[in-house]
Symmetry: C2
Subunit: 94 residues, 2 copies
């Protein structure tokens, strides 16, 4: 956790290409990264992974995809389940 | 292709619970189903799979998740890449 480089990219509200660039930069030095998102951002995570693969073809591929749910407490104090996705992208061995 | 029962559920614009119900009905008689979506509907596909698993716990689990892209011709005549997700849900062996 003391490393400056992170192998996890959390998808938030920034423009899509911000995450694409960030992912490609991380993949320059790391063998595997994971793109994480939840709720409305899950579609963006899938788009980011596809654009990264397309732009860097054929250097990387999908290593793993996990989906799940998390229980969040919403602003009205109720529990709400939100879906999550984790997409791992790895460097292809030559 | 002549079967009335389909093992594929395409996510569209209907209310989320329509697809959940439909998936659970199909899983009553089929060992595996696949939930497919593209673009904006991908998040709904993930939500549907999670709700199906939660409501039927522990009868089913995720068998496979695939993501990809398709090239569509949009209304202005240009090619547009759209991401896709296929989530397979299978019955757990007892």
């Amino acid at each position: 956790m003391s490393s400056v480089r992170s192998d996890i990219i959390y998808i938030g509200k920034k423009p899509l290409m911000t995450y694409v660039t960030s992912a490609i930069i991380q993949l320059a030095t790391l063998p595997i990264i994971t793109i994480k998102a939840r709720g409305q951002s899950m579609g963006v995570a899938i788009d980011v992974s596809q654009i990264v693969l397309r732009k860097t073809k054929p250097a990387f591929s999908i290593a793993d995809i996990k989906i799940g749910s998390e229980s969040l407490v919403s602003s009205d104090g109720r529990n709400r389940d939100v879906s999550t996705i984790d997409i791992s992208i790895k460097r292809n061995t030559p």
